[in-house]
């Protein structure tokens, strides 16, 4: 059997794809399968998630960073790079401009959402909770090739998005 896309190489990878509730089977060679799977990931927004992690932020001036020192505990940025641990809470201020991009790289965000000391956590509740939950589920369903489930979740997401768009228009 030859590859459905290039028609040249032997098909060794068999993919199932769902477009508008139609299930398609594809028989591909390795090269075309790799391209195809990258394409599929993009459709499902996984690449957005990974790009968030990889965003390096502005390059830091190395020399300046190494000599920066926390006035409260005496830890230098060079110490931090060596041990991988900060010295105290004040270090976050002392190394603010270097840690911002780092936090963004680790967590995909550098803006805290959630509990604040002394206040109930329920206060800061994100509006997009359901949608985000569904997107996570969709990603996993696709990853484990539970395509029927994925199609269902995708439709739910569409529905919510359309509803939100409509509400935004009305406003």
């Amino acid at each position: 059997m030859f590859c459905d896309i290039c028609g040249k190489n032997a098909a060794t990878v068999h993919l199932t794809e769902i477009i508008d509730n139609q299930m398609n089977e594809l028989h591909l060679c390795e090269e075309c399968a790799r391209k195809k799977s990258e394409e599929m990931e993009q459709q499902f927004g996984l690449s957005d998630l990974l790009a968030g992690m990889a965003e390096l932020g502005k390059p830091v001036k190395e020399k300046e960073a190494v000599h920066a020192k926390c006035a409260n505990c005496g830890l230098t940025y060079a110490d931090f790079k060596k041990i991988g641990r900060l010295g105290c809470g004040e270090c976050y201020d002392a190394f603010r401009k270097y840690l911002g991009p780092l936090l963004k790289r680790i967590h995909g965000s550098n803006q805290h959402v959630g509990k604040v000391p002394g206040k109930s956590a329920r206060v800061v509740k994100p509006k997009t909770n359901d949608l985000q939950d569904l997107r996570t589920k969709l990603q996993l369903a696709v990853e484990v090739e539970a395509f029927e489930e994925a199609a269902k979740i995708r439709d739910q997401i569409k529905e919510i998005e359309q509803k939100q768009a409509k509400e935004a228009q009305e406003k």
């Binding site: 900060l86 105290c88 680790i106 995909g108 996570t136 589920k137």
Partner: protein, 349 residues
């Protein structure tokens, strides 16, 4: 409470009473917090570390929700006791090293455990049987509220709770769910599932947390990201993923029972046979075989053994537990003999 009292008690994570207990051992939430301006444990001098210990001990004693908590200073415990606490998931392996100015506080039910001066000044966890992060959240949130009235935590509006390692900053929250996934392993689907989880910024670890191998088909799945998402959102994401994995494991179990019943029955009964008759057995082999017996209980192939009894053996056969039961130090060879004895007595029908 004395440490030895725990011997007659089943750990929360092994009770097998919570939701989805056929697949999920336990759910755990852990909060990391630090005191404002005082250096983190690895950077603090002796005086500062002792000050932290006293401040946190004092706060714990004032909190009503923690009135059934007993504090143990690690410097006063011997190596078997420390390992015993690690085996019961009441503290980390890291916490058991270099024990000066460190403590662990445990409540009578072993549901709440608080580590003082581990990587952060205070790390507290709430553990629930089965798939139940929601309940764990209700409890831990209240403890955190009470602690924050007694102590001033290092916190910034934009970066949240500040931790020794930036990977924990923000909510400082780690949620972990311990799963038993024998069917996904046996049907060779587990790598695919774990790869998917990793892509979604979740980590998989073994029975004993960071750096441990997955043994006995047990997998601990945790969130990696703690900044930029609220606690609610993080818990929602973990729940979404865990539900999917439970579905996958259930499907794999159904397929095995309906299509490969003979193979499954063979593996389960051979495992039970070895456990019931072995005279010398390692902890590694024990866990692998117990996993199969548990699968037998969960799929109805074994009817006369209670799942909780199997769960308990996962922990009572561990090295420190055997030494606590015997009340003396045992060599590795002696333990293998005692372990086999214990298993035979517990599985006798």
């Amino acid at each position: 409470m004395k440490l030895n009292d725990l011997m007659n008690h089943t750990s929360e994570w092994l009770k097998a009473t919570g939701p989805n207990s056929d697949i999920v051992f336990s759910s755990r939430l852990r909060f990391a917090r630090n005191l404002d301006k005082i250096p983190f444990p690895h950077w603090a001098n002796k005086k500062q570390a002792e000050e932290v210990l006293l401040l946190i001990e004092g706060a714990i004693k004032k909190i009503d929700a923690l009135k059934h908590v007993t504090i143990f200073r690690l410097a006063e415990l011997d190596s078997v006791d420390k390992q015993f606490l690690v085996e019961r998931h009441l503290m980390s392996l890291d916490h058991a090293q270099k024990t000066n100015h460190k403590a662990v506080a445990i409540d009578d039910d072993e549901m709440i455990a608080i580590m003082i001066n581990e990587e952060d000044h205070i790390r507290f966890q709430v553990m629930q049987s089965g798939f139940n992060l929601h309940e764990a959240w209700e409890i831990i949130n209240k403890i955190d509220d009470s602690l924050s009235k007694e102590l001033t935590f290092a916190f910034q509006q934009d970066w949240g709770y500040l931790t020794a390692c930036p990977t924990n900053a923000g909510t400082g929250m780690r949620g972990s769910v311990m799963l038993h996934l024998p069917a996904l392993v046996m049907t060779r689907q587990i790598d695919r599932v774990l790869a998917a989880i990793a892509k979604l910024s979740f980590t998989t670890r073994g029975l004993y947390g960071e750096g441990t191998q997955a043994t006995g088909n047990c997998f601990q799945i945790s969130n990696q990201v703690s900044l930029g998402h609220s606690e609610d959102e993080i818990i929602g994401n973990i729940n979404g993923i865990i539900r999917q994995i439970i579905d996958q494991e259930n499907q794999a179990r159904e397929i095995m029972v309906s299509k490969n019943r003979a193979v499954l029955e063979d593996r389960v009964n051979r495992s039970l046979g070895i456990l019931k008759s072995a005279r010398i057995i390692s902890s590694q082999e024990t866990i692998e075989l117990l996993s199969m017996v548990r699968l037998g209980c969960d799929t109805g192939l074994i009817k006369d053994i209670d799942r909780r009894r199997v769960n308990e053996l996962f922990i009572t056969t561990q090295p420190a537990h055997l030494q606590k039961i015997e009340d003396k130090k045992l060599t590795s060879e002696e333990r293998d003999v005692k372990r086999a004895e214990l298993i035979r007595s517990k599985l006798k029908i």
